[in-house]
Amino acid sequence: MSAAVGLNLAVAGLIQGLLIALAGLAVSLCFAVARFPNAATGDFMTFAAYAGVAAQAWTGSLLAGAASAVLLTAGLAVASYVLVFRNFRGRSLVAPLIASIGLAFLLRSVLTFFVGFDQHSFHVPIARAIVFAGARVRPIDLWLAGTSAVTLLAVLAVLFLTPIGRRMRAVADNPELARASGIRARTVMLTLWTLIGACSAVGGVMLGLQTVVVPEMGWNLLLPAFAAAVLGGVGNPTGAVLAGIALGLVQALSTPLVGFTYQTAISFILLIATLVLRPQGLLGRAEPVR
């Protein structure tokens, strides 16, 4: 493998990793606070991409398209909490998990009913790549990497540096204790679902900009997102972000060894190996037995 090929693989892996990190963060946030794996995360992303394409076609501006996608998807996430997931509070994680799978199918069916199965795409100027020390970097990749890094940092900042973030972490740690100390679950949950929606939306628009917008795009990213959430330590958002980036990089950099076909398998072998050696994940802590 020449250095240029390696650099290019690393760039591709980093972009893919940031994308998995966004989806993994949305999954992990939900698991940490609402305590169930949200299988509709992928379809929130798909919805965001379609909303972005529609808003861009309507307004003619990519920025307006992306902003509308974030607002609409945050609204969708909050609505799904109010209408669906709120009713499962206090139940085992199986009930809301099944409900989220149902919601995923419902969202996709409604989407394909109205817009069909044909692919759509964002309108972005297509430019030649910049060659930098042998690595080919597309201008759009720099934008995407920057945007997703800012989004990831912003969500983590909300979580760790603001009062509402502290309350969310308190609920995540111990819901009963949080309630006993007067933390209002309503505000916490509405903020949580807004964050989940916004995170999924940035991921969905980013995926749509990089590839094409099709009904299965988000669903296909769900497995890597779950893998990142598990590898990072279940319910540990920072871990999910790091694990997502690591998964993307490992997949890309294993290519010279295993070829393009088996890179996904390699990342999952790594996942299994990590969990055998460290069952609580990279940053997770062992669940105390009460």
């Binding site: 290019n8 692919q119 990089q210």
Partner: protein, 410 residues
């Protein structure tokens, strides 16, 4: 009163069951009196939906045309329509329903290899004919098609591979390369391209096999372009091909790119624009626009759908399926079973024989005891010993935002 309700339900069920059993015994007259039943199993929804409803409408109007011409002597025909959803699971359920409930004798118009491969064991088991529009090599191997009940109306992978090699020669390529979507059809077609190209004295590095649903194919492209080829075959589907074409442009690629016709649609042009697509070569099986059968098909297709017949090669294939099947039924006689009908399919479709372009023409000649050779709307429809047609490929080039047909490969 739940108990009584249950008993009542069971009694009703029992009666229904007995009635069904009786119908099964009494309602199966000798084959000659029984209508020949055709299942039109097409991709109405899913990835094939661009073609599916046109295919199904074509089967219906083609059968209507057969009826107007007097029908098959002694053999009324019934048709049942179903949707494959372009998914093997849904297609298997639909095929089971057609065979078990509707008792069809032939299933026609399955699209996409995964669907046809899933349906084939079911039709074989039921001694049902399967006329399909799929490329996978496995659909016509002796192991998969032991009774010769499956017939391919679309180009097979080896023919597509040969077409790529012929285009490379025509474009005077000196170094070729290939990329394939990771499934057996696409890998097989670039494999056949490689062997045909190397037989002709060219050299081809290992084709790059890529996975679906990746966010970027930049690294795959870089590997495919690493030996600086001037000719690159990209064998995939619409979404991945769109991404690869864009990234090839972004990477400043200078090799001529060739893709199969099914890997691009109107959405590709909208997404990428004229500049990125300039010079792209597209190869596809094309209908023989000058043939009499195509003209008849085209007029009826326009009346049924409002679109030109040339927009749906698979509908043209369905038109030919109906013609070939009904002509074979006419030749085999009213009491023939599917084995006998399958046996005479090459006799009505291949030379030697008087060339005919419709069921009406062929029926008259067959009644007079003459040999016929059906020349269809989607091509000359001549089957080899495995039951595969030899299609005509059209080679088009993207120029100024439009696809222009340049030459034919026969």
């Amino acid at each position: 009163m739940p108990v009584r309700k249950w008993m009542l339900t069971r009694r009703v069920l029992g009666q229904a069951g007995a009635a069904t059993a009786l119908a099964a015994v009494v309602g199966r007259p000798a084959r000659a009196d029984r209508p020949y039943r055709i299942g039109a199993l097409n991709p109405i929804t899913g990835a094939g939906s661009t073609y599916g409803s046109g295919m199904q409408k074509t089967i219906l109007f083609a059968l209507e045309e057969v009826k107007r011409a007097g029908g098959v002597d002694g053999r009324p025909i019934e048709v049942y329509a179903e949707d494959t959803q372009t998914s093997p699971d849904a297609a298997v359920l639909a095929a089971r329903k057609l065979i078990d409930a509707n008792k069809v004798d032939a299933i026609i118009g399955t699209w996409s290899s995964s669907v046809s491969l899933a349906v084939l064991p079911i039709t074989n088991e039921a001694n049902c004919l399967l006329l399909h529009t799929s490329s996978a090599p496995a659909l016509s191997t002796p192991a998969q098609n032991p009774k010769h009940l499956a017939w391919r109306f679309q180009a097979a992978s080896h023919q597509i591979g040969d077409a790529y090699a012929a285009i490379a020669a025509h474009e005077k390529a000196s170094r070729a390369a290939a990329m394939a979507f990771n499934n057996d059809v696409q890998i097989a077609s670039v494999g056949f391209f490689r062997s045909a190209w190397e037989k002709a004295g060219g050299k081809l590095p290992n084709p790059v096999v890529y996975e679906p649903n990746r966010t970027s194919y930049a690294a795959e492209l870089q590997q495919a372009l690493s030996e600086k080829p001037d000719f690159l075959v990209v064998s995939g589907y619409v979404p991945d091909t769109s991404i690869i074409l864009r990234e090839a442009y972004e990477a400043g690629n200078t090799a001529k790119i060739v893709i199969p016709g099914w890997a691009m649609g109107p959405a590709t042009v909208k997404a990428l624009g004229a500049e990125v697509l300039e010079g792209l070569i597209v190869v596809d099986a094309v209908p023989d626009a000058g043939s009499a059968a195509f003209k008849t098909f085209d007029a009826a297709y326009r009346a049924a759908t409002g679109n030109p017949g040339s927009s749906n090669i698979y509908a043209a294939m369905c038109y030919d399926m109906v013609a070939v099947l009904t002509l074979a039924m006419q030749k085999a006689g009213p009491s023939a079973d599917n084995a006998a009908i399958a046996q005479v399919i090459p006799e009505v479709a291949n030379p030697p024989g008087q060339a005919v372009s419709s069921f009406a023409e062929g029926r008259k000649l067959l009644q007079a005891g003459q040999k016929i050779n059906y020349e269809g709307a989607s091509g000359p429809i001549d089957f080899d010993e495995r039951g595969d047609v030899t299609p005509v490929f059209g080679v088009s080039v993207f120029h100024d935002g439009k696809l222009e047909q340049r030459y034919l490969l026969k």
